[in-house]
């Protein structure tokens, strides 16, 4: 089956249950060859959004289109079985009564039996599972089950691939391998792909775009670097990595007085009040720094040392490249501020 790859566009898509909006006016476009990751707390509406795209639920408002074809609006829903969307579940959802090969062949009903089997075996082979083709799901390890699930979703040449936390059920050792293989295959097939995840590192490292949802709303969708360093919202900032939020400070003439000293705000911030966010590494221990701080606890070793400090009454964290300074709790040290790791949010 030749698959024409098209955009999937969500236009102000909403889904309500009994008056409560689970998904609220979401605009999002999935492009061929692009992996979009959706982050958000539990109940943010990520999985529901995915089910709406898959056609497993009707939309309550807005529309979903695939290229020029209308998939969903309030009056019309193309049934899931006619969309040819691949979906990979967190817990694999393999058919327990079918072998790995027959699981993969399930979506190839349009082919004759021998062709379907051939294609199914070739997919299993691509995922390194040719030796396990006749095994039943309960005879496979978690990593193998997930690879079968991915082969099953990709074998029928879907027009899009949706993944609902596909790697979170795996052991950390297996996770990286399965993820590598999967994302490689997605890139190879060029299908628009959507990945629901709880892990910001996974989204930031692997996705072409990162979208953050909260309370059913899509707060931001941007390239990982932009979303991380220029989040539109404190919730987005927190979803993508640790951030210390300080606020609210009055802005006047593009400047603001903070406990870390007077600072210039970016030109996009207007007079009013702002919240300031400090990303990891915004403060570093530096003898030449201008901010006086006191060490309040033991440093946490790692790629960099993370030192708990207080600036006035404020508890913060500073980083230190090498443990050359005497890091004794109670000692006074100087900190330097890296303005590129500061986030500003207009209140």
């Amino acid at each position: 089956m030749v698959t024409e790859l098209n955009d999937i566009r969500l236009e102000a898509v909403g889904r309500r249950y009994g008056g409560h909006a689970i998904v609220d006016a979401v605009d999002l476009t999935l492009h061929p060859g692009e992996l979009t990751a959706i982050l958000g707390a539990s109940g943010a509406g990520k999985s529901t959004l995915l089910r709406l795209i898959a056609g497993l639920e009707p939309v309550s408002s807005g529309a979903i289109r695939h290229g020029g074809t209308l998939w969903s609006d309030t009056r019309h829903t193309v049934p899931a079985e006619h969309r040819r969307v691949g979906l990979v579940f967190q817990d694999f959802a393999l058919f327990p009564h079918l072998s790995a090969a027959r699981n993969v062949a399930f979506g190839l009903a349009h082919l004759d039996r021998s062709e379907a089997r051939k294609l199914s075996l070739s997919w299993l082979d691509r995922l390194g599972l040719s030796a396990r083709a006749e095994a039943y799901p309960h005879e496979l390890s978690g990593g193998e089950q997930q690879r079968v699930a991915i082969a099953r979703a990709l074998a029928p040449s879907p027009v899009a691939l949706l993944m609902d936390e596909p790697f979170s059920g795996l052991d950390p050792e297996r996770r990286d391998g399965v993820r590598e293989t999967t994302l490689g295959l997605i890139a190879e097939t060029g299908v628009p792909a959507l990945l629901v995840t709880h892990q910001p590192e996974e989204a930031l490292r692997h996705a072409d775009k990162v979208a953050v949802m909260s309370g059913g709303k899509l707060l931001q969708c941007a390239a990982p670097h932009d979303a991380y360093l220029r989040p539109s919202d404190p919730v987005v900032a927190a979803a993508l990595g640790p951030v210390s939020l300080l606020g609210m400070f009055p802005v006047s003439d593009g400047r603001v007085d903070t406990p870390l000293g007077p600072l210039a705000v970016p030109p996009s911030i207007q007079d009013g009040r702002v919240t300031m966010g400090l990303r990891e590494g915004a403060l570093s221990v530096d003898a030449g720094g201008t901010i006086e701080a006191r060490i309040v606890g033991a440093a946490l070793p790692g790629a960099v040392f993370r030192v708990p400090v207080s600036v006035g009454d404020l508890g913060l964290e500073a980083v230190l490249q090498d443990e050359e300074a005497a890091l004794v709790a109670g000692a006074t040290i100087a900190l330097r501020l890296n303005p590129r790791r500061l986030l500003w949010f207009q209140s």
Binding site: D91, P96, H97
Partner: protein, 550 residues
């Protein structure tokens, strides 16, 4: 052993003491197991000694025919039950249509009435002089010999009646499997292009097969064991043949051998199911529960669903019960011995239930404790449950004969008969209670016992204050079910009841056999009314048992 202090000798003393106390602690469970399996063992012994002319006669005249009849009954009812109850279960779990909520629980109503009560009603409804054929003649103007009408007193007729009475077992098995199947698997099938028909046939049905087979096996065991309905409809199955043989010749040997053939069929059913299952896994591969979102059915499919579910409820419960109520109201006959039969039934069911409950607690504890004793208890309990009452009663007769032979008793006095009956009931129905006790204890974490121990409670206090109350909480519903099952039980009661000491079930059967249906209706309806109580409790539990619902 965690203790490392003390001399080797004292440790040895202590361990042999422990073995002894363990041994003593095991005695009640061993005794209970013996009580449970003794009737079955007696049947097997009687069968081994049961050769001779009587058996030769049975082989020449009955064996082949009644085996074939039983197989025919099993095959026909299996087909009727699965072809109707499985689609009904699928429809009520997956789709929305008018009356769905009502049908979901009404489909188990037939469990309230014993199959023989349905047989009384259907034989009356469908015979030549009955209301259905009369209506046919009135409408067409034909005479009684001018048309063909299916004969209810036939093998297909008996299969129909038994299916109408027992399909809820298959429905319950299928329904629980469809409810518990991962919605994700069905979603996955949809996204792989499978329409509703393929989702049912290729995904839901194979995954539900073990549950359906288990339900069907239970129902078919009842079909094989049935005496009342089958014999009332004049069909000579193995179960009927062995009782007729026993009644006719009073020779336990041939009847016991016939019951071994029956038992082989019953256990063969289980083996076949296991064999068919093969290697394919059936445990859920997806453990995330999502609320089943039932899809609405459009007009014609909805009508079809209502028709299927409605017909099942109508045939399994409403129609036969309405007929009996009609006759009861029309004739207003209260049999003379109704009060004494009711008293006898309640007394016997009460005694039987008490025996079952005591055995259930003892074996239930042993089952939960596990190990060899637990496995043996489980086997003893379930083998009794699988054996038809008509077979167990032969065992009771054999035991009574043996006791008489060694001079323990003077023949079948009232007390001996009652004790024998209670024994048969206990052997047959303890499983219900024992499984309930086992399940209740399984829900209580081991830390309960540990907590009681750390608070200074010794073994006796732990059992009395912690474990027994937990076990009893599980036994409440179990007791009710056992009581009703004993009340409904027919073949054993029919054969072993003391002279002139009839129960409701026996009274109803005898009246119906004597073509005095009007006198049989009141006892039949009373049995059914009592049977409704556990069915209502079950249907309430059913509506609350959806995963994700707390």
């Amino acid at each position: 052993m965690s203790e490392v202090t003390g001399t080797a000798a004292s440790a040895e003393d202590r361990s042999s003491l422990r073995l002894l106390t363990h041994h003593w602690r095991n005695m009640p469970a061993l005794a209970a197991m013996l009580v449970l399996v003794l009737p079955l063992m007696a049947v097997v012994l009687a069968a081994l000694n049961g050769g001779g002319d009587g058996w030769r006669n049975v082989v020449e005249t009955k064996l082949f025919g009644s085996t074939l009849t039983t197989l025919g009954l099993l095959a026909l009812s299996a087909a009727m039950m699965t072809l109707t109850a499985v689609p009904a279960a699928w429809l009520v779990t997956q789709y929305r249509f008018p009356g769905r909520g009502l049908f979901e629980w009404a489909l188990i109503l037939p469990l309230a009435a014993p199959a023989y009560v349905l047989a009384f009603a259907y034989k009356d409804l469908l015979n030549v002089a009955g209301p259905v054929q009369s209506a046919v003649r009135d409408l067409t103007g034909l005479g009684a010999r001018d048309y063909w009408f299916p004969d209810i007193a036939s093998l297909p007729g008996a299969a129909f009646v038994l299916s109408a009475a027992l399909f809820p077992y298959v429905y319950l098995g299928a329904r629980s499997s469809f409810v518990n199947q991962s919605v994700c698997t069905l979603d996955a099938a949809r996204l792989l292009g499978a329409g509703s028909k393929r989702r049912f046939l290729d995904v839901a049905l194979p995954a539900a097969r073990p549950a359906i087979a288990a339900g069907a096996a239970l129902a078919l065991m009842e079909v094989a064991a049935d005496y009342g309905a089958t014999s009332h409809l004049g069909v000579e199955s193995l179960s009927v043949a062995l009782i007729v043989n026993w009644e006719g010749y009073n020779d336990p040997g041939p009847a016991a051998r016939l019951s071994l053939v029956l038992l082989t069929l019953v256990f063969g059913l289980f083996y076949l199911e296991r064999l068919l299952r093969g290697r394919a896994g059936v445990q859920a591969t997806s453990s995330r529960w999502q609320q089943v979102k039932r899809a609405p059915l459009s007009r014609w499919p909805a009508l079809g669903a209502m028709l299927l579910c409605g017909t099942l409820v109508l045939l399994g419960f409403i129609l036969p019960m309405a007929r009996l109520v009609w006759i009861a109201v029309e004739t207003q006959i209260v049999p003379d011995d109704f009060t004494s039969a009711t008293r006898n039934s309640l007394l016997l069911a009460g005694m039987g239930t008490a025996a079952c409950a005591i055995l259930a607690i003892v074996t239930g504890f042993a089952m939960r404790r596990g190990g060899q004793l637990g496995r043996a208890s489980r086997f003893a309990v379930s083998s009794g449950y699988a054996v038809p009452g008509s077979v167990l009663v032969l065992g009771a007769f054999a035991i009574i004969a043996a006791a008489q032979h060694v001079g323990l008793i003077d023949g079948r006095t009232v007390v001996v008969s009652l004790v024998g009956l209670v024994w048969v009931y206990a052997s047959r129905f303890t499983a219900v209670g024992a499984n309930a006790v086992d399940a209740a204890l399984a829900r209580a974490p081991a830390s309960f016992g540990h907590a009681a121990r750390s608070l200074g409670a010794g073994p006796v206090k732990r059992i009395a204050r912690v474990e027994l109350p937990i076990a009893l909480s599980g036994l409440i519903t179990g007791t009710l079910i056992m009581f009703v099952e004993i009340l409904k039980e027919l073949p054993a009661t029919l054969l072993l009841q003391p002279f002139d000491w009839e129960t409701l079930a026996v009274r109803a059967y005898n009246y119906a056999s004597d073509e005095r249906l009007a006198s049989a209706t009141l006892p039949s309806l009373l049995i059914t009314a009592v049977g409704l109580v556990p069915v209502i409790i079950l249907s309430r539990a059913l509506s609350l048992s959806r995963p994700g619902r707390h």
